[in-house]
Symmetry: C2
Amino acid sequence: MKNLETYLARRQKAVNEALDRILADCVPGGRLFSAMRHSLKAGGKRLRPILCMAAAEAVGGTWEDALFPGCAIELIHTYSLVHDDLPAIDNDPLRRGQPACHAAFDEATAIFAGDALHTLAFEVLSSDRYIFFQGKRRLALIHLISRATGNHGMIEGQMRDILAQGGNLGLDQLKELHRLKTGALITASVHAGALTGKATVRQTGKLIEYAENIGLAFQVADDLLNVEGDPLLTGKSIGTDHVLGKATFPNLMGIDASRKFAAQLVEKSLQAIESLGIKANPLRAVAKYVIERKL
Amino acid sequence: MKNLETYLARRQKAVNEALDRILADCVPGGRLFSAMRHSLKAGGKRLRPILCMAAAEAVGGTWEDALFPGCAIELIHTYSLVHDDLPAIDNDPLRRGQPACHAAFDEATAIFAGDALHTLAFEVLSSDRYIFFQGKRRLALIHLISRATGNHGMIEGQMRDILAQGGNLGLDQLKELHRLKTGALITASVHAGALTGKATVRQTGKLIEYAENIGLAFQVADDLLNVEGDPLLTGKSIGTDHVLGKATFPNLMGIDASRKFAAQLVEKSLQAIESLGIKANPLRAVAKYVIERKL
């Protein structure tokens, strides 16, 4: 892919417009709505919907069909950030360069705004207004996203993350934590795209392998950015992981080995989708972006 | 209905067994799971699933088909209580006579346990393991439940409840608040049962009218119990609404007028389902239970 930045910008624009359409259907005006909008419009890379759309294209589907399924996942991702930033959890006042939801509003509002974004994902997924395919395939879509979000996936990972703070975590436990905390929803994004694009069982298997490697690479890169990143670019406080005594890849493996590990994971992800041909080029571009990104 | 207590006890038993089955499919053993189980198994009247099943029966369906849809709503109801009790919201250490989730565990765990119960509802609704009807009808089920749960319903009501504390709320605003906060999910329970039992449009309209009146009656009765109830029976702290300066029906109308208002609402709910015949007797019994209950 020649021009990754243009590609990502175009897809981000489509996602942001779709999210605006979803917001326009919400009850406007009140404090809950303002808090939801604050967190949803605070920027963000829109990596999950972009992966979802790219996966659909990789198996011959259209990115348009995968747009709202991807947006539903972005709503879930955003809700998880809102709750994660709360004083009782990561206590982070800054998110994407702007005040976190509880800092801009208050704790109660942030809890409710997260809850509302969470439900909204399932409202979108079950609405004929946004998603046009029906029946078993849509139910399978809802099921795989809910499995990845709940106690089999993301939330269990967030719980383990909190429990691990200040404790000793081995490398395998750290990988397992991230497989749940961020990996599950990234894999679900790609899986949802595969389902939307009517992937074969074999294609789906390849795409999931791609996603699992990219998901972990993304987390390693995130840990590296927390050590080395530019807060003006990342919009996050730097060194917070260290302060919280969090187990991170740089802490456990060292910075150089973490960089190598991320590169290996990206290599594996590329191998997994080798057979998918040029239609998978957007996925390949995203894979490279994951370790080259500065934010 | 001759023996309401036996009927309710039998249905509650079915709901509790179904919830146990759902829990058995969760990741066992960890802190997140323990917190989810703590809140889900802390008792509760199981009013929402019972309404769901009774509505299905009222239109010629089976209560068994409505069992898991009802349980999904109970999961949502339970998640909302877990978050509502948090220090940043109602700050209530006691729920159903047991420590609230954040008191038994901690705030972070309670936030995550609520989140996990929330997702689990949609995992159940989208799973072929629990719900057997397919396609458009199941998507409609998921959609109506998510609409009632999110920013068009329950969460908007919870937000308004917090904003109203200490302020002046008129009677109409109080009714609107409760229409959202508790009414929406109670109406969704009955609506879900109607959908499960393949109700006609006319039957569905009648059942929704029943539910809207019962939902408000339930809240008026709840407010009365907060003033007059026996904490040993209700398992709740008494007089907390007064301490929080909450607008309640007894505060705005007086106790006697509130009792009369609840009775009128129950009367209206009974009129709405008059045409449904003896199959609607369980719904009639539940309507009477709402104002006679001591917990």
